[in-house]
């Protein structure tokens, strides 16, 4: 299945450019997990040429964005066809900000069990957000908990 919505690419205002973020990529995808790989590929392809470290794109970004999209589609939107997931990526040579927003009611991101504790290690789920936190430099949520912002920085 191909990604139905084409990304929009635009330059950022001078204020954000001063923070090292030069361009913005936006795409919206329907709540279908089969589209996650294509969406991640679209983002990675656009950023690879300009970001300083390709491995960060291929590994950290790929894992973090995939996990955030799957969470948004499965748990945020409950795979509801009528709901979409908005992806907004601001990027420059040394910094990437990825925002993934679903149309769900959000969740309490402050309480998440540590999947590496012996008591949780045999649980089949609960590793997605943990991996995101491990692989990006900063994670923020909005107050509702339906939008995650993941920041990567490389010198």
């Amino acid at each position: 299945m191909r990604l139905a919505v084409q990304p929009l690419l635009s330059a950022l205002d001078p204020l954000r450019q001063a923070e090292g973020l030069e361009a913005e990529l936006r795409l919206t995808l329907p709540s279908d997990i089969r589209l996650v790989e294509d969406a991640v590929n679209v983002v990675a392809r656009h950023l690879e040429a300009s970001f300083v470290d390709r491995h960060t794109i291929r590994f950290n970004l790929r894992v973090a964005l995939s996990e955030a999209l799957v969470n948004a589609i499965l748990y945020g939107n409950g795979e509801d066809d009528a709901k979409g997931v908005a992806v907004r990526v601001l990027f420059g040579r040394h910094a990437i900000e990825m925002e993934v927003t679903d149309e769900g009611g959000g969740f309490d991101y402050r309480y998440l069990p540590d999947p590496t504790l012996p008591a949780n290690r045999l649980r089949p789920c609960g590793r997605g957000l943990f991996l995101i936190r491990q692989l990006v430099d900063e994670v923020r949520f909005n107050n509702t908990g339906n939008s995650i912002c993941m920041i990567l920085r490389r010198a």
Binding site: V36, R62, R123, G128, L131
Partner: protein, 111 residues
């Protein structure tokens, strides 16, 4: 994306993950292993030599299969993880849960 399954001469069922092990195909892998377990297989090797990516759902299915196989007195081993995939196992401390070897050949001689 495909799962190539073959029976090695020493009775180990080798499952090669060609592509990715992710939320979209993890159930297929799970069902294949559970069917084989039901049919009497007890030794399993999942070969990730041709695998580019495993997501958290894929890790989760490996955890749940490992438990089911152990409950039946069987053995599940993993092989062929690239450096990035090894990092995912290390971050989640799943490297302590599985017997992991560099190559499928090494794993097959270790059974």
């Amino acid at each position: 994306m495909a799962f190539n399954v073959r029976k090695h001469s020493n009775g180990v069922l080798v499952i090669e993950v060609d592509g990715q092990l992710i939320v979209g195909n993890r159930q297929e892998l799970k069902q294949r292993v559970l069917d084989a377990l039901e049919a009497g297989d007890r030794k399993f090797l999942i070969d990730f030599t041709k695998t580019g990516y495993i997501d958290s759902s894929g890790l989760g299915v490996l955890v749940s299969l490992s438990k089911k196989i152990r409950d039946e007195g069987g053995d599940l081993r993993l092989a062929g993880l690239n450096e990035d995939l090894k990092t995912l196992f290390e971050l989640t401390k799943l490297d302590t849960l599985f017997a992991i070897t560099d190559s499928a050949e090494q794993a097959l001689t270790a059974f």
